[in-house]
Symmetry: C2
Subunit: 120 residues, 2 copies
DNA sequence: CAGCATCCTTGAGGATACTG
DNA sequence: CAGTATCCTCAAGGATGCTG
């Protein structure tokens, strides 16, 4: 297995927030979903889209996301085996959340490197 | 210092998403912001709201969030020193994102314990 | 009350190599 | 192509104790 929760159970167990963060909290996870939001992708396509992710991690993430019903894995029984991953209905529902994260992230990002004087 | 990014720089540097996830990704961070969303809170109030968080972690998180402009720290120079934390404008902007996370998290949570097949 | 210093554990995530 | 197996690193986060 790969991951369930971040570590033990930091936030209160039974908290939906933890459930989601344990999902989105994983490194690369938002990126993966984001890439999938533009349409189904194959393993190598994802790797090319995210050159810095290792095969193992991508594999683990993908499997985890599949088990959670966020995406579906379709094996195309072609001569060179190809597999593509696509968001499920549930996966699609994550998009708005990720979008929100990206948007707020942009603001954070700007503040981080913009000399916006400290006002407190 | 406490934390900048999850570890090295998993997702592509310069990505707003990473900026946000490095913030929300920290254990307890969403919880903290969530609690603050209901109004300013003092250190001990936050601790009581989240009994399982250690003082250190709360402290680290709070300082980090302050440095990032997500919240402001106000020291009340009373006899028993009291400090309260309140979300900044930027912090407030995180609420929708967290709300989205919570909502999707609920769905995930339901699916986690009520998969297609249900036993017991 | 608020919060910092210290030490330790843990496991996520990366690198590398091998396989069907 | 699409993984899986193995090993290793490292820093996030928890526990404890002390201070202003």
């Amino acid at each position: 297995m790969a991951l369930k929760l971040r570590k033990k159970v930091p936030p209160p167990p039974g908290c939906p927030m933890s459930a989601c963060m344990s999902l989105l909290g994983g490194a690369w996870t938002p990126e993966i979903i984001w890439n999938l939001s533009e349409g189904a992708r194959r393993f190598s396509e994802l790797r090319r889209a995210m050159p810095r992710i290792s095969a193992k991690v991508l594999s683990v993430r993908l499997k985890d996301l599949e088990e959670r019903g966020v995406l579906v894995r379709s094996v195309l029984a072609t001569t060179p085996p190809s597999v593509d991953y696509a968001l499920t209905d549930l996966g699609e529902e994550l998009i708005p959340a990720i979008r929100a994260i990206v948007e707020v992230g942009s603001k954070l990002y700007l503040r981080m490197r913009a000399p916006t004087d400290r006002a407190a």
